[in-house]
Every structure is written in C-alpha cells, then in structure tokens.
Amino acid sequence: MLAVEDLHVFYGRVAGVRGVTLEVAEGEIVGLLGPNGAGKSTTLAAIAGLVRARSGRVLMRGENLLRLVPENVVRMGVALVPENRRIFGHLTVQENLQLGATIRSDRAAVEEDVQRVLRRFPVLQRLYKASAGGLSGGEQQQLAIGRALLSRPKLLLLDEPSLGLAPLLVDRVFEAIAELRKEGTTILLAEQYVARTLEVADRVYSLSRGRVAFAGPAAALRDSADFETNYLLGLAPSSAAAS
C-alpha cells in the first residue's frame, strides 16, 4: 500500500531523515521505533506532506505523495494523528470531529461514522458539545484519533499516541489501535513505547539518527531481551534479535 523509498528530509542544513526506506502492506500495523530525534516524526510528517522531502519517493498505491500538498495527501487516503494531538481547543468536540470529515461530502454517512467514533470512544459522547480545550490528554488523544478516522483513511499514521499519557490511558489508546487492526485499518505507528508497539505491530522498523537501523517482524523482537536496551541507546539491535 505504502512504499517509502530513500527518503531524505533536511531542516536547513540538519538532516532529519537520511535515506529511509520502508513499506506498509494493506491491513498491517507497522511500528516505527527509535529514540527522540531518530526521525520517526519527520518520516510521518514527510509522508503526510507536512514537511518537504529533499529527495526520495513516497508511493501510496503508486501515486507519489511528495508532489502533493497536505490537503491532497489526506484525499489520497492518508491521515496523520500528529504528536501532541493538535486538537482545536477553541472548538467543540463535535466541531473537531466534523473537521475530520472535511474531505467528504456524504453527510449522512459522515453522521453514521461520527456515531461509530462516539461508540468507540464513549467519553467523547459525554463531552460532545464541550470545548475540546478542556479535555484531558487521554480524551484529546481519543478525539485526535476519532477525528482522523472520519476521513475514512486507507492508511492511518499515528505519531506517539501514548506521549504524555498516564499508563491507564496508554492502555486505552493501544486497545483502540488493536480494535482498528481487527477492522482492517492499515496503521504506521511511530512510538517510543517499545513493548506496547511490539504487542500490536506486525512488523517494525527501528530508526537511529535518521536511518533505518533494523527492519523485521515484531514477533522476532518480542522475546529479545537486549532489543529494548539497544533501542534506548539508539543502537541497532543485535543480530540475534534481528534473526
């Protein structure tokens, strides 16, 4: 479904991503791991059109997304839930959700999807008319995911969905990711929470200093004792783990 080929992104003269290549197949959850500054968020931002890549290709079902502005990337079926949620605090939960359906004109179907999101995240039902700025971090994360789902994405990009959340809320977010997986949603998940990512992901890529340091099935890493240590140190996993 998605193929990122030799992606290079620079912030001025500083390289954010250096030659990242990865693939996401339909129905998969692919984890993007790595410490702070590894290039996870930059990779997702480049896919979504938020930052301009210097070179490389991002092919979504054959179409190069790097030629598109962000508002057209979402029209190609790619929705990003960015780091720190970035909900519109001055708008209500309802308005935030409706903004998620900006690209759609099928009003009746949108309303059905809104109801589906409210059933998935019941806390949003209670706060539907409330200002989104008053929501807790966990509630905002649920709103951000619900908002992204309303564009009916073929590929959902999740950037650090557990960031800043209490453990109980992290559980809720990962439960939601697991539910989305059951429904066949394709997800590229950038996370620092290694153990939880390995639980839900089919495959993972580990980034280090803007490069792919490891790529392989998540199952191979779940039992690897040294993976998390290496990951935290920003090192490539050992060959034992990789095998």
Partner: protein
C-alpha cells in the same frame, strides 16, 4: 448632558469604523501572519470607485455601493492571488516587503491615473441629515455606520460559528498546518479571508467617503494606521481583539477630540499613539491575545 451623549454616539461611530478596518487587517493576519500594508489602498481604491460611479458615471446610490463591494472584494482577491500567494512559503520578511511594495505601487498608480487632487461626491441627503430624539440630534451617518458594523460583525460571527467553511477558517487560524492535514484547502480559506477583508474595506470606504464627501490618495492613511494599532493592542491573531482594539482607538480618538484643550487638539493623534505605546509597555500581549502562534503556511 446632551453634548456628552452626542460625543458618545460620535465615539461609538468612529470606534465602529476603526473596528471594521482593524478586522479587515486582522482576519488576514490571523490566518497567515501577513500584515497587509496595502489594505489601505483597497479602501482608497474602493472610495475612488464609489465616487467615480456616483459622481462621474451618475450611477444610482445602491448600484454604486454594489460596484464598490464587487471592486474591493475583487482587488483583495487579485492581491492575494497575484502578489501574496507566490511568496506565501518564502521567508516572512518577503511577504512584508511585498506588502510594502504593493502599497507603494498602488498609491503611485492612484496619483498617476486619478491625480493627487481630491474628488468630491454628494451622497443621498439621508447621510447628511439627523434623526431627532427629543432634545438629541443624532447624525444619520453615525447611526448607519454603527448599524452597518453590527450587521457585519454578526454576519462574520455567524459565518465563523455556523458554517462549515467558517469553522474550517477558524480552525486554520488556530493551527493552519493541522487544518491542512484534515483536508482544509489552504488556497480556499486564505482567499475567503482576503474576500472578507475586501468586504470590510468596502464598508470602510463608504464610511470615509460619507464622512468627508471626497476622496484623495491619502484618504485611508490615518484610519489604517489606527486600524493596525487596533490589531496590535487588541492582541495579534485574535479577531475579537482586533474588533475591540480598533473600537477602543476610534472611541478614544473622539474622546481626546472632546477633552483636549484647543491648543493641544492638533496633537490629538500624537497623544493617541503615545497612549498606545504606554498601553503596550504595560500589556505587550494586547487586550485579547490570539490563541495561535500564527503558523506560516
């Protein structure tokens, strides 16, 4: 007492006009961080249009107003498309310089094509007569400007709160990049913001021409300067702040006119801007700071 009420109505009227100008500037600034110094030229060109259609072409008043609105909105849209869109992703100073250059070019074109001398117009007698309320005589123009401002403000509020495009614009003003990620078309919302600023410029053009009965190339210089100050003291990036800031300065201008001794009245604007500086020293963030950091797109 009667005099005080008269001054109060004048102050509200001038405050309304400055609020309109500040909003016209603020609606674009809030969205794309552009301080459009050419905004005054939209107002001036609108004023020339109104005077030209009514005085030179003998259009009926209503037709003149219609043409005025069409022209100012069109100028604002063309300005966005031709001058600002190509430099939108360039360095912020590039947009600022573009705005200066555009303003300077338009001012000189006005002088070249239309001449530096004032052109006069006679509007319908309604605007130069009064409404009598007991002992009070209220200028119809003041009532009209206040009413027009209220209608435009309510219209803008309705648009931003109750329409899908308005909510998109409101979201884009808060976080443009996020709004785009959700599919909000940058070109469309920015064009709408310029269109709204053009509409508000039409209202300001009419009010200025009606007050002075004439137009000249410097017609909008002081009102727009006050409008800019209104946007800043209102709080950059906040439409409510721009409205409040513009209104406060217009109101204060009239009050200063009334309370300053005759020997100082010629320094009214100097006193006004001194007060603006003093206010910003105490509250640099303005009256109602904007919610966004004005992210460039």
């Amino acid at each position: 007492m009667i005099t005080a009420i008269s001054y109060l109505i004048d102050a509200i009227s001038l405050g309304s006009l400055d609020a309109l100008i500040a909003l016209g500037i603020g609606v674009v600034f809030g969205l794309m961080g552009l301080v459009n110094f050419a905004y005054g030229d939209i107002i001036t060109l609108g004023a020339y249009t109104l005077v030209g259609t009514i005085a030179a072409l003998s259009f009926p008043f209503a037709a003149g107003i219609l043409v005025l609105v069409v022209v100012t909105v069109a100028i604002a849209l063309v300005m966005e498309r031709v001058a600002f869109r190509p430099v939108r992703e360039a360095d912020p100073t590039t947009m600022l310089i573009t705005s200066f250059a555009l303003s300077y070019t338009l001012q000189n074109l006005e002088i070249l094509v239309l001449g530096a001398r004032a052109k006069f117009v006679a509007l319908p007698p309604f605007f130069s007569s009064f409404t009598t309320l007991g002992p009070l005589q209220i200028p119809n123009l003041s009532l009209f400007v206040i009413g027009m401002t209220v209608v435009l403000l309510l219209g803008l509020r309705f648009f931003l709160k109750r329409t899908s495009l308005g909510v998109q614009m409101s979201a884009a003003a808060a976080d443009f990049a996020m709004a785009r990620l959700l599919g909000v078309r940058a070109n469309r919302v920015i064009a709408i913001a310029f269109g709204i600023s053009g509409l508000f410029a039409a209202a300001a053009s009419f009010a200025l021409v009606a007050q002075l009965g004439q137009v000249n190339p410097t017609l909008s210089v002081l009102p727009v300067l006050i409008g800019f100050a209104g946007v800043i003291i209102g709080g950059l990036g906040s439409l409510a702040g721009a409205t409040l800031g513009g209104f406060a300065l217009g109101f204060l201008t009239t009050i200063l006119q009334a309370v300053l001794p005759a020997s100082l009245s010629q320094f009214r604007d100097a006193v006004l801007f001194t007060l603006v500086i003093a206010f910003l020293l105490v509250r640099p963030q303005g009256l109602l700071p904007g919610r966004s950091s004005v992210e460039r797109v």
